[in-house]
Amino acid sequence: MLTPARIPYLLLLPATLFLCAFFLYPFVLVAIEAFTRDGTFTAQNFQTALGHWKFPAAMTNTLLLAAVVVPIQTALALLMAVLVTKMTSGRDMALYVFTIPLGISDLAAGIIWLAIFEQSGFLNSMLYHLGIIDQPGTWLGYQSKGVIFAAVVLAEVWRATAIMLVILVAGMGLIPKEYDEAAEVFGASPWKRFIRVTLPLLRPSLQTALILRVILAFEVFAVVAALGGTSLPVLMGETYHWQFALQDRGVAAAFAIVILAISIAATLVIMRALRVPKEARI
């Protein structure tokens, strides 16, 4: 019965069942919730969600955060990955240190940065004791949205760059050394070798890393909640608010579907942009 041809499917079965039970099924439920109200099909939930006065701000903030955070993280992760790959000794140690923030939950990360920026926080105490300021400043007040935004960016970069790093380091390990050596023989500078050899060959890993990171960026919530409260609305925060504070599951589900839609759109764009033709794969 157990023919070799069937084994792969059999091995995939547990994961498929898991996905169906814990992702697909809840997703269908959420979709139903989003499109119905009191049992009848309606677009009212979406009208409420999209027509709410905070929606444009939440959408802009979410997209803007992703647009700022992801490029910074990509650049940093690439730089760190190159450094780690080039190291001859202590490579594992460096990798461990770089990935420590990954082990911290995002809410904890938000609270760590809150402890730095709040009125009686580390930043104010430091500036005060250095004599730079006379009295503690309010960094995360509602009028300083820019500062809150920057603090969120900082916290996110600190926390989640490592996830890209791990994927990119693995990807760089897969690139055969011959290409790089050949380029070096022809006199290509290190920068040129990076741009012309490493980056193109890294495309599959870059694709994975970017998709993962962008989707997570659209779901940013705990860090923003800790640092900005309601001053910096984001889509995920609004979803939570509608579900738990306003007790309206329909509208919360509509917000969730909106996040899903932009995640799918971003994934398609990244897949298209970083597509590797079949014949060009290593």
């Binding site: 007040g141 001053s231 738990f244 309206d248």
Partner: protein, 422 residues
């Protein structure tokens, strides 16, 4: 053989364990109150330990609290023995509660509060458990900046604005604070204090000219309010650090300031507006879900909680006052003394306008609060014109009232049908 014996042994031990745990199952008290860890622990150690059965006191946020009750109600069986929550929490889960037959007269429960527990119907859905209210607290350093001729107990909103302005000027930064953070109770300030004081109503008068004036006054006050207010949840913390000198908050959320530095702070009633002094009593209650495993034990627990000893122990544990007639002992913490004086002054004062917590809104209580919070975020924080935002939010409020069909509650005049926004 050995293996067989070992297995039987394990099975037997397992069965025995099940049996004992079923027998000695603790009564689950599922509550939205006494959430800070210290208070939860004091509820367990100092209040519930006096009951003759073990009670497992668990405090949760409103969302998870409601979700679990709804889940147990839908499943038709549950493990929650007793529910604890604010008046507004119970309106969300009304369908899952049994009618209680607790003898409230002989327990000496304040009759007006007992009436609230019927949630507008005939059956007693919840029994009052404890009460609190809101008040003002000031650091004594702030008193020298009080406007001339102002009486702390009879302060008006205009005098409060002057006072806050004088403090800001003298110290170089705003020293007035509001609990305007995401977990702060700012909406109660608008619904129970600011708006009733200016308009005499909450829903009917929502977009009146008086309401516009009230929001304008708040905007004036906001100039002298520390911008860090949008991060505050419990005003006792900024009061203790000295970031804030004068603040409005729930009595239980100011308590630590008085308890830690009793000589540094004074408590006083909330300010008055043209219509009088808006005032909002906060009632927490206890209810039994229809799915309670042992309703008799739950009812016995309610009786215990209403006993004078348990009420005083609850006051010590949570800073919420008794709902039954009891004589408070002399050794109460400073916060209780401070709040007690303010509460009795306010309830005796003739121009107080009692604003009740929203009634009949079902699970739309959060949305009702959001109407007022949105007003605050749009105008005071976001700088949108007050008139336009009022008209826009009035539509949202009107739709909400029609959707829920909630009739007016005090201080609004009674209505036939849903409370109208005039």
């Amino acid at each position: 053989m050995t293996k067989f014996r070992l297995t039987t042994g394990i099975v037997a031990a397992g069965l025995a364990l099940c049996a004992t745990s079923a027998q000695a199952q603790d009564l689950l008290f599922w509550s939205t109150q006494a959430k800070p860890v210290e208070e939860t622990q004091r509820m367990r150690d100092d209040v519930l330990s006096g009951f003759d059965q073990p009670v497992d006191y668990q405090a949760a946020d409103e969302g998870p609290w409601i979700t679990r009750i709804q889940a147990e109600t839908q499943a038709g069986s549950g493990s929650i023995a007793l529910l604890g929550g604010l008046h507004g929490d119970f309106t969300s889960v009304e369908g899952g509660l049994v009618d209680l037959d607790t003898d409230l007269d002989s327990a000496n429960v304040v009759p007006a509060y007992a009436e609230l527990g019927k949630l507008g119907g005939d059956g007693q859905k919840y029994v009052p458990w404890m009460q609190a209210t809101y008040m003002m607290a000031a650091n004594k350093q702030a008193l020298e900046f009080l406007p001339e001729g102002a009486d702390l107990n009879e302060l008006t909103y205009d005098q409060l604005i002057q006072w806050a302005g004088a403090m800001a000027e003298a110290t170089g930064g705003p020293k007035f604070g509001l609990p305007a953070g995401p977990k702060g109770l700012k909406h109660r300030f608008f619904q129970g204090y600011l708006l009733p004081s200016y308009t005499g109503g909450v829903v009917r008068t929502f977009k009146s000219a008086e309401a516009e004036e009230a929001w304008n006054k708040l905007a004036e006050l906001w100039q002298f309010t520390t911008p860090a207010s949008t991060n505050y949840a419990f005003m006792q913390e900024p009061l203790l650090t000295g970031e804030v000198w004068v603040a409005f908050d729930h009595t239980a959320r100011l308590a630590e300031a008085f308890n830690q530095k009793p000589d540094d702070f004074v408590a006083f009633p909330t300010p008055k507006g043209p219509k009088g002094r808006g005032y909002m009593p906060v009632i927490a209650g206890m209810a039994i879900p229809a799915t309670a495993p042992d309703p008799e034990a739950s009812a016995a627990l309610i009786d215990y909680m209403l006993s004078p000893e348990a009420q005083i122990a609850t006051l010590r544990a949570t800073n919420f006052f008794p709902v039954v007639d009891v004589d408070l002992p002399d050794d109460m913490p400073p916060s209780v003394k401070a709040a007690g004086e303010v509460i009795s002054y306010t309830s005796k004062s003739e121009d107080s306008i009692t604003a009740l917590l929203p009634m009949g809104l079902g699970d739309a209580g959060g949305k009702f609060n959001q109407v007022y919070v949105d007003m605050f975020e749009r105008t005071i924080l976001g700088g949108q014109p007050i008139r336009d935002a009022l008209d826009d939010q009035a539509n949202a409020l009107d739709a909400l009232m029609k959707e829920t069909g909630a009739p007016c509650w005090a201080p609004d005049a009674p209505s036939d049908g849903p409370c109208p926004v005039e």
